[in-house]
Assembly symmetry: C2
DNA sequence: ACCTGAACACCGTTCAAGT
DNA sequence: ACCTGAACACCGTTCAAGT
């Protein structure tokens, strides 16, 4: 006993991600987490107000890691390919953490009710905003719309893929070409309409 | 008693949509539907294999209505604005049927396991594909990617909005301008890169 | 502070009957 | 065929205790 030396909170978040990737977002129950860790079924309430608060903490962590990944891809990309590289990193995250991604953008997690989650999501978006801004579009509503559009585009691709609507008939190469084509179209249009 | 004259199935789907818009996708339980209609808690199993099958039927109906709405907007639009008009219709659907939209694209509804749902979703996408094809892009992988990109773009905007990530600080006018800008950028880029 | 067992009101799903 | 009540194994959440 006494498996957790005061870090039950960390143990819960860790177990949550494990269960999440193994069984999907819907199967994530507080009681199962408690069972996995080896504490009583209501011990989690010492650290989280309710189930949604725990899910929000997991999702916020996901957004933080997403932001880190986007920033790294952006920093490593040659100047002309920053949007492409960052978009690819976004899609990679969604593909390699499918269940986490679905949780982060799933219903039943009201961003407005969880400040930490809202801030983490905003920080991830800010990385994309900066990348788009660096494409040479003068600041203003057009630039802001351009950044939101870029986010919507990569998010739409990632979400439709995670949802199984896209790429069932595409191979891995086909999927990469799809992403390249779509991002190129958008970047081209963005620069053209911004002039 | 005998509220349903052999159309318990229809009564279930009808009640499901009502509960859905009122309480969100997560709260949709078979037992509550049975209670609302006034039958025993397991009567639904006469018409649906399980909870997911009922949700799939509701979602399939949503995709059929979405396809109808997209086709109507496309048909009513002047030649040069078909993509804009269809995209707006897509976003309108997501806004006016928020919970249904979240169900249609939510996790826990495996399209592969429900042929009716998969076909309905594909039919809705086919409308978008035709609109993009009519923009004068020669058939081929580029046109197919262009159609998927258009879907991803409007879906991303709709989903981020439904998720509360966008437009909290935008008014209704600002949202309309956002949509117009983003769709214009994409359409411009699509034609430019296809040449 | 942190954890426990018991309890309450819910679920989805199954099954043996009833008409 | 279609519906019923009882039952099983789960949930989230609360509460009165225990250390």
């Amino acid at each position: 006993m006494r498996y957790h030396h005061g870090d039950l909170r960390r143990a819960l978040l860790c177990a949550a991600e494990e269960v999440l990737e193994r069984e999907g977002p819907a199967a994530l129950s507080l009681r199962e987490l408690a069972r996995v860790i080896g504490v009583s079924h209501n011990a989690p309430y010492r650290h989280f107000a309710d189930r949604e608060a725990l899910l929000a903490a997991v999702a916020a962590d996901g957004f933080r890691r997403l932001a880190t990944g986007l920033a790294a891809a952006d920093a490593a990309a040659p100047p002309g390919e920053r949007l492409q590289a960052t978009g690819r990193a976004y899609l990679d995250f969604a593909r390699t953490h499918r269940a986490l991604y679905l949780l982060m953008f799933g219903p039943g997690l009201r961003k407005s009710a969880h400040a930490e989650l809202r801030d983490a999501a905003r920080a991830a978006f800010d990385v994309l905003r900066d990348v788009v801004a660096s494409a040479g579009i003068p600041p203003g509503p057009r630039a802001r719309h351009g950044a939101i559009g870029a986010w919507a585009l990569v998010h739409g691709l990632a979400h439709l893929t995670a949802d199984g609507q896209i790429a069932e008939d595409l191979g891995a190469d086909g999927h990469a070409m799809l992403i390249a084509d779509v991002l190129e179209s958008y970047a081209t249009g963005l620069c053209a309409t911004a002039g």
